[in-house]
Symmetry: C2
Subunit: 339 residues, 2 copies
């Protein structure tokens, strides 16, 4: 790989979305006098009586959580999408809107308030994966649901409103922007090459090795060539599959291992419970052909140079395009040392 990429400003192409990221390697050393994040390293108790996600506690709407022992799922008390809302659409000249039905769920990863994926064992993470599969399948089977978004916001700096280990599942009738982009790019590539876009990309990464931070029999973790967030990573299944439903029981464990390795490395980077948003992109659950889909999980962590200085995606990033300083290869190098 040419050295220019490590020295000079350039843009890199995201093959999955068709968009670009601006990379400015020479800028990594600029001084920082801006906002400092308050990242708490305080040890949390295993049970917090004021936490609405802990087992046995009562939620804001009066419902009582069961005394769950591993994973617990419930419908979000303040869901952004509702199943019973009416169907309508608006086409008034240049005002264009369309109703959106959906079901939003919360998934508690563990009854232990003090945990996170980074310090749960592989067997416990595997149970989370099983529930993701079950939810993807069950929600996807509902008539008006065409897409299921599994994600996690971790850390107050990522807008997470409760430190109890949990994620969310928003399922809905329409394909959201990012999914539609990836749908298009993968479909175009598949119809031209009759092979998986992400699969072919992975073959290149496994050969190049410089952005590869972990692999086992079934999964590889890379800092993608087009990474936007400073330490962004992507877990890619080696076997082409459209969605997580197709995971065998061995693959489930391999996937849990990849999640465990990645989140542990993150915590080691700046010695803190590393904040991020993570999410799984996979095939829509509508009736369309999905052989072009290759599912994957991404982590978008905001921290840049310490536990208290994050990357802001603001001005230029909002109006122009995302921008990063350290290169994907530098980020991968640091993560490789921690795995």
């Amino acid at each position: 790989m040419t050295n220019n990429l490590q020295d000079y400003s350039h843009k890199r192409y995201n093959i999955l979305t068709g968009e670009w990221v601006l990379v400015s390697p020479h800028r990594a050393k600029r001084p920082w006098q801006g906002q400092n994040e308050a990242i708490s390293n305080k040890q949390r108790p295993s049970h917090d009586s004021t936490c609405y996600l802990c087992a046995g506690n009562t939620r804001i709407n009066g419902e009582k959580n069961p005394k769950y022992e591993d994973v617990f799922v419930f419908t979000n008390d303040f869901a952004a999408l509702q199943s019973a809302s009416p169907s309508f659409s608006l086409n008034e000249g240049l005002f264009k809107a369309k109703s959106e039905q959906g079901i939003c769920k919360v998934i508690c990863f563990s009854p232990d308030h003090s945990k996170s994926l980074a310090n749960m064992d592989v067997a416990s993470i595997t149970k989370v994966v099983e529930v993701w599969q079950k939810e993807y399948k069950e929600l996807g089977a509902i008539d008006f649901i065409n897409y299921v978004q599994i994600f996690e916001n971790k850390g107050a700096v990522m807008g997470c409103s409760n430190p109890h280990p949990h994620g969310q599942i928003w399922s809905q009738s329409e394909l959201p922007n990012e999914v539609e982009k990836k749908n298009q790019r993968q479909k175009a590539y598949f119809s031209e090459n009759n092979s998986s876009l992400l699969g072919d990309y992975l073959t290149q990464e496994l050969k190049a090795k410089e952005r590869l931070i972990y692999q086992n029999d079934d999964f590889a973790v890379v800092v993608p060539f087009w990474a936007v967030w400073p330490f962004e990573t992507m877990i890619i299944p080696k076997r082409v599959a459209a969605n997580i439903n197709q995971l065998s029981s061995t693959e489930r464990t391999s996937f849990a291992k990849a999640i465990s390795k990645t989140t542990k490395a993150y915590d080691g980077l700046f010695n803190c419970s590393f904040p991020y948003s993570s999410g799984i992109h996979q095939s829509p659950t509508n009736q369309e052909a999905n052989e072009h889909w290759h599912w994957h999980m991404s982590f978008y962590p905001p921290l840049l140079r310490s536990a208290t200085v994050k990357k802001f995606m603001v001005g230029y990033e909002m109006f122009g395009s995302p921008q990063r300083d350290i290169t994907a290869e530098q980020a991968a190098g640091r993560l490789q040392n921690l795995i």
Copy 2:
């Protein structure tokens, strides 16, 4: 306008980018236990000897700022883009990159450290507009520059590293993502209708009035139908023009008035110096035809319900699409009362 939009989840279409925003009006009342922003209302001194943007002070690279009296522009000491960097491109299978040359500048709006656009008078803001015009013209005339992005990050919560009133201008050889999207949508509409997409939209907004928060002879300020950020606004020139170069001297003052009204209303909303990123989207400075362009300025402010609670664009928003709770019409209603 149908009441459904005020009551039920729906998505709205952004005519300029071709993307959607998810709106969940019923969700506005959910409780917030997450991160609180530290918004400082401390009065700043008019001159701060430690500020590298104040007149007469020395910057980190040893350069001394002149004793400027209104607006002062200099090349960013830690520019994300450089003019002297080499040209290269990489096309290695699915690894695709391209060099990017550019010039990044900082523009101090006033020598007075304590000010912001919200409390500068219209004459002083008009001087800022003049400098924006000059920079757009001069940078745009440089051979390798094809686009000039004018923007401001205001407030620590928006990644601004210094409270001295200032903005930035990043000019570059390639069109960034957001500009390319708006270029495409406007071009398609213009070639089909032979009129301005944003002009026709503005005609509809001026008739509907419910999202209009201010107008004068030359400009209108609306909360766009597809607003993403809680109190997002857009300043639209009534006369179709591709870029700010085409502003007459009367229009310059009208534009400064619109900026003044908008930023003052923002400060009144939660009684604080209101953080935001703002930016001007206008025609590229390359040689292509730009009669489809209708320039405009947008404000993306993150605060949601108070000076300390912002909207987080995280998990679902990163993996799916942007999401908001209060509707554009509700936001406009509140801003209308403050103008």
